[in-house]
Assembly symmetry: C2
Homo-oligomer: 228 residues x 2
DNA sequence: CCATGTGAAAGCGTTCACAGCG
DNA sequence: CGCTGTGAACGCTTTCACATGG
């Protein structure tokens, strides 16, 4: 039972694949709950809402964990995806800005479920200092550097107004944070060893709105997009 | 001054372009604030955090609104993007599920700023009925069909637990909603004339986590992704 | 003369179709 | 025999490089 495989990541997974792995994970957990030990790419695809060929391509990137003529071992595959995503590893996360969005993110269960622990929040409003935001406590922004170091925070979610986002990012990086997820409508520039990604909550709504707009004018094109 | 142009949409814009138009919009508004009447693709690209060639390709999809040898008229371009996105049109939006996420989305200013008005929220918890969620009131879920019709709601944000998401989607569609943005971890199936899109808030964090994981193991690859 | 607008090239991602293996 | 794993085809996106025109 020499369980060792290729230890970790062969080479970086394509982002498109990375983006779908959580879907498969969910489908696998669901299948596990139904006592299904094996799953074909066809079944997995149906549960995840994607194409079966895509499932096979994606999974083949992780290695050969399927059995020809049979399918994928639910449990084994789940473990492999978890390992590849580094989902065992726990990440300490800070939320900067304890407004509506910050509060929602701090309380969001989807994060802790996947090993992202929000261990601190920061704001400039003294009324908020010491209050709770999920499991985290709200600190004054001035404590940022100290708390980031003490709590070994490596990732941060920026939910501040756009004007201060770059300044916050600079301070986070200076304090040792290496991954930033930016919800503020601003373009951030950081040192090359830091990863930054942006989320615009309104973009998807806007795309939906565009298609509604199309349907309304151009009565000819129903053009329904069903993306899961 | 016959201001009439191509009236509306020539043909559907590619999604990749659609996704960046808001970035340009933001950059243009910013530039307007600085009294800049003209902007080159180079300057616009810098402000939006993308490549200049991409800006030109994207903008050329909307028509020829630039002047060779000069650049783009800030104000004109802003209007054209707004028109193309159907951003004048107002959309009535419902939020289903008044939990953390639902509350944050209901209060999110980014929506109303772009013409998406959250005019109703729904939940099954009687304690929440009648309470406020941004400008909207929380209704019992049983009132869904009536309120959707009365308030002419065409778009809905699903922030419920996964198990009920499909049922909610069915009821929304039956009541006349034509666009659904799904935040629940479930695959939704709807009639072909309805658009569904999915948002997974944890995906971007997961991708960041993956790169951290890579950097940690494979000490060789710094691999910083800076996506704006 | 200079920046737009655009064909053409290069790069990714998805889908197809089937060889290969359990 | 059936399903995985994968080369090859296809389509979409990005980038390049330059002809075009104000």
């Amino acid at each position: 039972m020499a369980m060792r495989a290729a230890q970790t990541a062969a080479r970086p997974l394509p982002e498109a694949t990375l983006r779908r792995l959580p879907l498969y994970l969910r489908a696998l957990v669901e299948a596990s709950g139904e006592r299904l030990l094996m799953l074909s790419s066809e079944e997995l695809a149906a549960r995840a809402g994607v194409n079966a060929a895509q499932v096979r391509k994606d999974l083949s990137q992780l290695g050969s964990y399927g059995t020809r003529g049979v399918g994928y071992d639910t449990e084994l595959l789940r473990q492999q995806i978890n390992r590849q995503l580094g989902l065992n590893r726990e990440h300490n996360v800070a939320v900067i800005g304890a407004g509506n969005l910050g509060q929602a993110l701090g309380n969001y269960r989807g994060f802790s479920e996947r090993g992202f622990n929000v261990v601190a929040a920061f704001d400039t409003d003294p009324d908020k200092f010491g209050s709770r935001l999920g499991t985290a406590v709200v600190y004054p922004l001035s404590e940022l550097a100290r708390v980031v170091r003490e709590k070994k925070i490596t990732m941060a979610l920026i939910t501040t107004p756009a004007q201060v986002a770059q300044d916050i990012a600079d301070r986070l990086v200076a304090a040792g944070v290496s991954s930033v997820l930016n919800f503020a409508p601003a373009v951030l520039t950081v040192a090359p060893h830091v990863s930054v990604r942006k989320v615009d909550l309104a973009v998807e709504l806007q795309i939906l709105g565009y298609y509604e707009h199309l349907r309304a004018n151009h009565t000819a094109a129903p053009r329904a997009t069903t993306i899961n």
